[in-house]
Structure formats: structure tokens, C-alpha cells
């Protein structure tokens, strides 16, 4: 498969850091985050303000505004990063935008008051890469996110996208590529952690006149958004990974199955496919090498189970998204009974880097059997939430305290839920656990898709487990009995515990049911659904016991087990609570004390949310 190659992609520069310029060095760049989070905070208006100012100053030749993908530090949005040094301005509004652009146009000296600070009276941190949230990161998957304009193929090419594809197509055999990926130690980032190289080998060895190479972008775990960030921030990295994989396994067509809840990702991906086809980087006879690969998009219609690969296949074929027993595995018989390889977005975004830098460079990152980096969505009760890409093997404590900056509230951190609804809850006493496949499995959690939700003492672990179980129970497709009925029974038991009507023996029953659902379900949804309940029982058994025995919720989160109280010192006797109480449980007259009758109160919380003085609390 060698042949003349058009000089489309520029030679690969070294992996750029986030602070590096995307286009020619002569152009001074103002990078405004246009990821979903920052757009929600008004970043597009800020980008427009910059553009207007640059146009008015007639500085368009030496300066440009780049609307980039997600920078990662979503809670600090809208995020702006300026110039070669990557001067970082968090939480930019229109006023500060004016001051930033003035400084950029006049001497480019950073505006000190607007720089990031760890604490209000801490020293300013000017460079984006020096912010503690970023300092420990190593960006492979997110190498271009926040650097390039994701809607510009030229930007992607200037940062080295599609160089690996050309190298692969012109200088390597499919077997060599598979060997490189296998040797890199890359494991599927969608949840199961299966060796990517091995999967490709199985697909390559499968017999079939037509093979499919698909991308699973049905990121459904609540609390995880790394795939969305990659699709929105660097869609070409995913397409390039798909094309290399297709060449390796011998596929000629494929689908990207994207969640319908990600309209921006779908739009950018669609444009990226059209641009890549127009530049002969996808489609027929790619770069004149004779290799052809066609990619189409299929939008999901809202079913969590479609992240499971056999369910995904059913959905692409136009059926109800229900999984089927394996074997045969999709690599043997998948989409329309043809050999089909399905990889997750993040997995594919690693491929070009591995081809460019070699297996050894990748496997030297990470620890044990968990090689390379992993992107985590760090959220919950934490000071700096957002996306982080770190070498595998960092401990939970390093993630929570060093990168996330610790608890965002006055309460201490209680636990982290790792791996979404399929994952497990780890208590603070286990925060020295390294985040890698084997170590997490040993303590009952999983790396999963990489959601990392931090909770503090105000979270009731029973109610938290119930939340995840309610999600998976609702999303159970209903095909197999253990998952359909088992999760339902489990949810009923957990619910009654949170409602104060739990019975002795409920905990043991949950464990028995949980183990049965885990071992007997058809697919990974049921196979992992009991994890949150089982791990919270394992580490927070006393909270379950308190709910059942003492009818007490120590976090005051379970409505049935807590009461509302009027704090006399804060109460201004306005009477708003009494007026809004739907069951007339509140007594009192203006200018007098107000009281809530806990026997009548239905704990709806309306009084608490209506009180303008925060004088009503839950105890």
C-alpha cells in the first residue's frame, strides 16, 4: 500500500503543550474556550468582543482569536488563554475582556488583577501550565483541546493531526501497527479495559468481505464528559485514530455513534468529516494510497445501554438497543453480521500519538498493567472541577487534593465515586489507592469511563447509592431477568431504607441480590449496576445500619429521616414560609416566632427554598 503521497499534512511538530501557539509563530493568539461549559457562561460574546477590538485596532494580521475546545477547568469558565506563554485568565466577563485586550494590544503585559489565584489573597499564577490543576497533567488525548480551533482543518494539520495516518499508510503494514498498539499497552478507555491491540488483532483475523471500524461516542455515564471534550475540541484526532484502526483491521466503512445530548459535538464532527473528505484524508483512495475508508455519523436517541457494544450495533442497525449474548463477539460477527471493531473516543484519540511516538514512549507512562494517561472528569464537592489527563497510577488523594484543590465546602471530603454508575465508592481512608485497573478492582471500584465524583459529609451514602441504582434500573433494557427484576428489587430495598422503613436483614438481602445480579446479567450494565450499593455497604455499612436501626441519616439528606427547623436568630418573621407551606405545618404571626410542626410537615423543602434569609435548616 505504498504510493505517491500528496503533501497535505505538515510535518509533525513535537506534541504542543497547551500554552503553545497553534498556527504560525508570527500570529499572536487569544484562545477563548468554546466548549459547552464556557459557552454556557457566555464565552462566545467574549470572543466576539476580542474580535471587534482586534479589527478596530487594525491588528488582524499579527493577532487572531481562536475559539477552542474545552480547556478542562470548566468551573473557572469562561476561560481565556493568551499568547505563546499561555497567560491564563479565568472567569472572564465583558469588562475584564476589555482590559485583557487593551493589555494585549498595548505591550502584552499580563493584567495582574485578573490572573488566576489559588485563594483570594494568594499570589497570581500567570501561565496556564503552572496552575496546580494543570501542573501534574500530561496531555496526550487532550493534546490539541484548548489549543486549536476544532472547526479548522488547517489548525489541526498545523498541530500534527493526520501525520500518523500518513506514516501508517505509507510506511507500515497493518500487522506492524497492531503490534505497536499491542506493545503500547493501551487498554480500552470506555470501561472494560480490554487490550486495544488484541481487539484489533481479532478483528483483523476475522474473515469477512466487508469489515466495520466504529467509534463508540455514546458517553452515557452521568458525571463523565471527556469524550464530549475530545469530540468538541479535536474531532480530527478521533477520525485519524479511526482511519488508522480501519487500515489495521482492513475495514472500509464505519460509524461514529454519538449521544444525541451532545449537539455541538455532532455538529463539529460532521464538519470535520466533510473537511477531511474534501482534503482526501478520509473517503476513497486516501492520500493516493489506494486505501479507502468512509465514516458516517449515527446519533443515539437516548438509551444508556447503547454504550454496550452489542446494543450499539443493534441501535445502528435501527432496532431497539438491546444487547445480545457474546460470543460471537462483534470482532467476529457484528454490524450486519460483519466483523466489527468498536473503540471508544478516548482510546482512538491515543492512536495517532502512539504511532508518532512509538509503543515504548507510551508504555513508559503509567504504572503496572495500566499504561499511558487517562482523562478523568473531576466533579462534585471539589474546588477545581473539570477535565484532567494524568498518567495512570496517581493516587485518589493526589487527584482530589493536589489537582482538585480539596473540598469546596467547609465540610471534609467523605468519599469519591469512581467510574460512574458502574463504579464504586471509596472512603477517604482508601484515598492512597492508585488509580489503575488492578488496584481499583481490588478495592471494588473500576476505572470505568473516568468519572470521579467527590462528595463531602453532607452526602448520605445510602441515598447516593440509591441515586446510581435508580439510574441503572431506569436504563435497564429489560431483556434479561437478573438485571430487569434484580435491580428493581434492590432499588425497592434501598429506597425503603432511605425512607426510614428498612428492616433488619435488608443489608444482607442487598448483598445477596447484588452478587446474583452481578454474576448473572447478560451485559455489563447489569453486571456492574450493583457496584455502588455493594461498595457503599462495604465501606459505609454503619450508615445503612443507622438508617435501619436508629431511623437516622447522619448527613440529613434523607427527607423522611430529617426535620426542618426555623433558626430564630436568622428569622425575620416575614411569614413567607407559612404562606407557602402546602400542608399548613408552620404556625406563627408576623413579628413573632415561627414554628414547624414536624408531625404535619411532609418535608417537601418548599419553606427552605422560599426563605429569603436562609433561616430554615434541615436537621
Amino acid at each position: 500500500m505504498t504510493g505517491p503521497t500528496p503533501a497535505t499534512p505538515a510535518p509533525a511538530p513535537a506534541t504542543p503543550t497547551v500554552g503553545a501557539p497553534a498556527a504560525s509563530a508570527a500570529t499572536y493568539e487569544v484562545r477563548v474556550c468554546a466548549g459547552s461549559g464556557c459557552v454556557a457562561n457566555g464565552s462566545l460574546a467574549i470572543a466576539e468582543r476580542f474580535e471587534t477590538a482586534i479589527a478596530e485596532a487594525d491588528a488582524g494580521e499579527s493577532m487572531r482569536v481562536v475559539k477552542t475546545g474545552c480547556h478542562g477547568l470548566c468551573a473557572q469558565g469562561p476561560v481565556v488563554v493568551v499568547g505563546e506563554d499561555g497567560i491564563f485568565y479565568p472567569a472572564v466577563d465583558l469588562d475584564s475582556a476589555d482590559r485583557i485586550i487593551d493589555s494585549v494590544l498595548d505591550g502584552r503585559k499580563p493584567v495582574e488583577e485578573l490572573l488566576f489565584r489559588e485563594s483570594p489573597d494568594g499570589p497570581p499564577i500567570a501561565r496556564y501550565d503552572d496552575v496546580p490543576f494543570n501542573a501534574r497533567q500530561q496531555r496526550i488525548v487532550l493534546r490539541n483541546c484548548g489549543v486549536i480551533d476544532p472547526e479548522s482543518l488547517d489548525d489541526a494539520l498545523a498541530c500534527g493531526d493526520y501525520v500518523a495516518l500518513r506514516t501508517a499508510l505509507t510506511t507500515q503494514t497493518p500487522e506492524q501497527i497492531i503490534e505497536t498498539v499491542r506493545a503500547s499497552g493501551l487498554r480500552g478507555r470506555g470501561g472494560a479495559g480490554f487490550s486495544t491491540g488484541l481487539k484489533w488483532q481479532l478483528a483483523r483475523d476475522a474473515v469477512g468481505d466487508l469489515k466495520y471500524m466504529c467509534c463508540n461516542a455514546d458517553e452515557g455515564d452521568p458525571g463523565a464528559f471527556m469524550d464530549r471534550a475530545v469530540l468538541e475540541g479535536d474531532p480530527h484526532a478521533v477520525l485519524e485514530g479511526m482511519a488508522i484502526a480501519a487500515y489495521a483491521i482492513g475495514a472500509s466503512a464505519g460509524y461514529v455513534y454519538v449521544r444525541a445530548e451532545y449537539p455541538l459535538a455532532v455538529r463539529r464532527l460532521r464538519k470535520a468529516i466533510a473537511d477531511a473528505e474534501a482534503a482526501n484524508l478520509l473517503g476513497d483512495d486516501i492520500m493516493g494510497t489506494g486505501f479507502s475508508y468512509h465514516v458516517s455519523i449515527r446519533e443515539g436517541a437516548g438509551a444508556f445501554v447503547c454504550g454496550e457494544e452489542t446494543a450499539l450495533i443493534a441501535s445502528v442497525e435501527g432496532h431497539r438497543g438491546m444487547p445480545r449474548p457474546r460470543p460471537p463477539f462483534p470482532t467476529t460477527s457484528g454490524l450486519w453480521n460483519r466483523p466489527t471493531c468498536i473503540n471508544n473516543v478516548e482510546t482512538l484519540a491515543n492512536i495517532a500519538w502512539i504511532v508518532n511516538h512509538g509503543a515504548e514512549a507510551y508504555s513508559s507512562i503509567g504504572s503496572g498493567t495500566s499504561k499511558g494517561t487517562k482523562v478523568f472528569a473531576l466533579t462534585g464537592r471539589i474546588r477545581h472541577s473539570g477535565l484532567v489527563e494524568v498518567p495512570m497510577g496517581l493516587t485518589v488523594a493526589e487527584m482530589v487534593d493536589d489537582i482538585g484543590g480539596g473540598s469546596s465546602t467547609t465540610l471534609p471530603t467523605k468519599a469519591v465515586q469512581i467510574g460512574g454508575p458502574s463504579g464504586g465508592c471509596l472512603p477517604a481512608s482508601h484515598f492512597d489507592t492508585p488509580i489503575e485497573y488492578d488496584a481499583l478492582a481490588a478495592v471494588g471500584a473500576v476505572v470505568g469511563s473516568g468519572g470521579l465524583v467527590v462528595v463531602d459529609e453532607s452526602t448520605c451514602m445510602v441515598a447516593f447509592a440509591r441515586y446510581f441504582l435508580a439510574f441503572t434500573q431506569d436504563e435497564s433494557c429489560g431483556k434479561c431477568v437478573p438485571c430487569r427484576i434484580g435491580t428493581k428489587r434492590m432499588l425497592e430495598i434501598v429506597t425503603r431504607i432511605t425512607e426510614g422503613t428498612g428492616k433488619p436483614g435488608d443489608i444482607e438481602e442487598l448483598e445477596r441480590l447484588g452478587n446474583a445480579v452481578r454474576s448473572a446479567s447478560l451485559c455489563a450494565l447489569g453486571g456492574t449496576a450493583p457496584n455502588p450499593v455493594l461498595t457503599t455497604i462495604r465501606y459505609f455499612r454503619e450508615e445503612y445500619e443507622e438508617h435501619i436501626r436508629d431511623k437516622k441519616c447522619r448527613a440529613h439528606a434523607c427527607a423522611a429521616l430529617s426535620n426542618y427547623l426555623v433558626v430564630d436568630e436568622k428569622c425575620k418573621s416575614c411569614g413567607i414560609c407559612k404562606k407557602n407551606c402546602p400542608v399548613s405545618a408552620i404556625s406563627g404571626e408576623p413579628k413573632q416566632r415561627y414554628l414547624i410542626d414536624s408531625d404535619v410537615c411532609i418535608k417537601c423543602g418548599i419553606c427552605e427554598s422560599k426563605c429569603p434569609f436562609d433561616a430554615i435548616i434541615k436537621v
Binding site: 454556557a40 445530548e261 464537592r381 468519572g451 465524583v453 423543602g605
Partner: protein, 169 residues
């Protein structure tokens, strides 16, 4: 499973099936395209009336039971008319931990529309949705395409009031 109550009265106005022609034609030769067809049909009609499902089944030579099965399996297909403004309250983990349940009860109380339901005058539909992917802004409420981050029960009430005002204008 969502319960679908009788909606004969609502569907009394005839559904113009000619609008479906281009959608069906665009996917005529794609055997797996039932879901894209239903998605685009829903864009045209705002929801999936029974007549549309029947027409899709007939034109694509697929059993009605299968079309109905697909339409009821996925949460983004709606068999009932929807409100002009869709208020989506994110119940992703981050939002849940940050107070989505309280935000939800505030909005439900203020709008008088329960979760998963549509106001009688079709002004609003209130939905609880799984993660919208803006976890950094939790808790999040999405009205139409507009994302509102860092909601509190009080802010949610303000938002709901504003929506009600806009709806009556």
C-alpha cells in the same frame, strides 16, 4: 416505561403526512435508518403522532410493532405533543450532589408542571435528564438551548418565573 394515556382529543387535528415524504425519501435505501427517520420526523412534527409511525412502518415495509417498539425504547422519542419551551433539569452525578433534587422541586412548584409532563397549554415540558456534560457548572438547568449553571432553589424559582412571564407575553 412511560405510560401513554389516550390522546385522541389532542390528535383531533389531522396530521399532514406529506411532510414525511422527503424524510422517507432521504433514507429510502438505507436499511438501518429507522432511527434517523424517526428523529427527522420528530423534528418535523415536534413529536411522533401515531399516524406518522403507521406511515413510516408502511413506507419502509417494517412491521408497525417494530417501529412502535423502537419509538418507545429510546427516551428521546415522544409520542405526545411537547411544550414550546423544554426545561431540562440535569440529574447527572455532579448536579445531583450539588442539589439538583432541590432545584427540581423549586421549578416544579413554580411552573406547576411535574417532571416528565407538559403543561395543558403546551407552554412547558419539564424533564429530568441524565448528564448534559456541563458538570463543571453543576447544578445545571437547560431551557431550550440555553444552559443555566450553578443553580440554587432560589435562582431556579427566578428562572421559572421569568419563563412564565415570557410564555404569557
Amino acid at each position: 416505561m412511560t405510560e401513554h394515556t389516550c390522546s385522541c382529543a389532542k390528535e383531533a387535528e389531522a396530521v399532514d403526512l406529506t411532510l414525511l415524504g422527503p424524510v422517507l425519501a432521504a433514507h429510502a435505501h438505507d436499511q438501518g435508518a429507522l432511527i434517523p427517520v424517526l428523529q427527522q420526523a420528530q423534528e418535523v412534527y415536534g413529536y411522533l403522532p401515531r399516524e406518522v409511525l403507521r406511515e413510516v412502518a408502511e413506507q419502509r415495509e417494517t412491521p408497525f410493532s417494530e417501529v412502535y417498539g423502537v419509538a418507545t425504547f429510546y427516551s428521546q422519542f415522544y409520542l405526545e405533543p411537547r411544550g414550546r419551551t423544554i426545561v431540562r433539569i440535569c440529574h447527572g452525578t455532579a448536579c445531583h450532589v450539588a442539589g439538583a433534587p432541590e432545584v427540581t422541586s423549586a421549578i416544579v412548584d413554580e411552573l406547576g408542571v411535574r417532571v416528565g409532563e407538559t403543561a395543558d397549554d403546551l407552554s412547558f415540558t419539564v424533564e429530568a435528564v441524565a448528564c448534559v456534560g456541563c458538570c463543571g457548572l453543576a447544578p445545571v438547568v437547560v431551557t431550550g438551548e440555553q444552559v443555566h449553571g450553578q443553580m440554587t432553589p432560589l435562582a431556579a424559582r427566578k428562572l421559572a418565573k421569568q419563563l412564565r412571564r415570557e410564555a404569557t407575553q
